[in-house]
Symmetry: C2
Subunit: 179 residues, 2 copies
């Protein structure tokens, strides 16, 4: 969701809110018509499975948008939690504003591009999850989010990769030893 000119132009019409580290913007089960644009800080979305285990779906550093598109699209209560990894400044957008209202052709084309980009990123992630080892996935994470590894606790990175913090620790140990 890199092209953000349009979103920023909505800034004046929408609220910018400030949140502290750990604040929860959306809980599982809630009605979720909101999307969150990160002006400053770092937020993440995640599920909690039936064994109580967290699975980080994505991180959103500055200028990224985060939303529970699956639940919105199927008109279901939220499947994802969204909370702040750092203190953050967030523009809260109504999803209907982004996708449904009386936008003009250029805005709609822009949205088509935003969504295509999102599909592309997810396609890559699915292929990666199916075919790559934990080490390869860690390396792709570093590429995808080059600026955030030192801002995110190890356990969240592990959760994003689909492995345990212990496995990530061992992995990092091996990588460090090789260099």
């Amino acid at each position: 969701m890199e092209n953000i000119n349009e979103i920023l132009s909505l800034d004046s019409k929408e609220n910018t809110s400030n949140f502290s580290k750990g604040d929860i913007l959306q809980r599982e089960g809630e009605n979720c018509s909101k999307a969150f644009f990160v002006k400053k800080g770092l937020i993440r979305s995640y599920t909690i499975d039936n064994k109580g285990k967290e699975h980080v779906f994505m991180f959103a550093p500055e200028k990224w948008v985060i939303a529970d598109i699956e639940s919105q699209e199927f008109n279901q209560p939220a499947k994802l939690f969204i909370d702040c990894v750092e203190a953050s400044e967030v523009i809260i957008l109504d999803r209907r504003l982004l996708f449904k209202s009386d936008l003009n052709i250029d805005q709609l084309k822009n949205n088509v591009n935003l969504l295509s980009r999102r599909v592309a990123v997810l396609q890559r992630r699915v292929i990666m999850l199916m075919s790559a080892s934990a080490k390869d996935r860690y390396e792709l994470f570093l590429e995808t989010y080059p600026k955030i590894p030192n801002r995110v606790p190890q356990r969240m990175i592990a959760s994003y990769l689909g492995i345990t913090p212990q496995a990530l620790s061992t992995l990092r140990g091996e990588i460090a030893r090789k260099k």
Copy 2:
């Protein structure tokens, strides 16, 4: 990509082509501006990793659309192969027609919805790949594609699930024994 009225309306302007089982519609490395709408039959997309192993990305039975959106979006040569699991009748669409040309507002809104749906499906698949066991993934596959399990070779289902054919065979054995 369930809402297909618009696509079907393009039918007359576009070519319908017939393919035999095994025919390849797109190869890795090719320029890929096409999307494929399946009128009849069954096609799939997949990657081949650097160890020569296939990973099925998705199946497209009747009325589904398949395309390598990642490569198109980033203007790269195709990452995905696309071929026919069964003899198929396919409408070949130019991606630019679907996403880029002078469409009217309703058509663009429709495309936004198609892409949102696609994002939603991929979000679900990512979460599933991260958190679910092979057995759970198999059950979700049966839900996602209720009509095709008997039309697709086991090895392709295994590949879609991210496991080996042997593991799937054992799994199916266990499920059958329990019933």
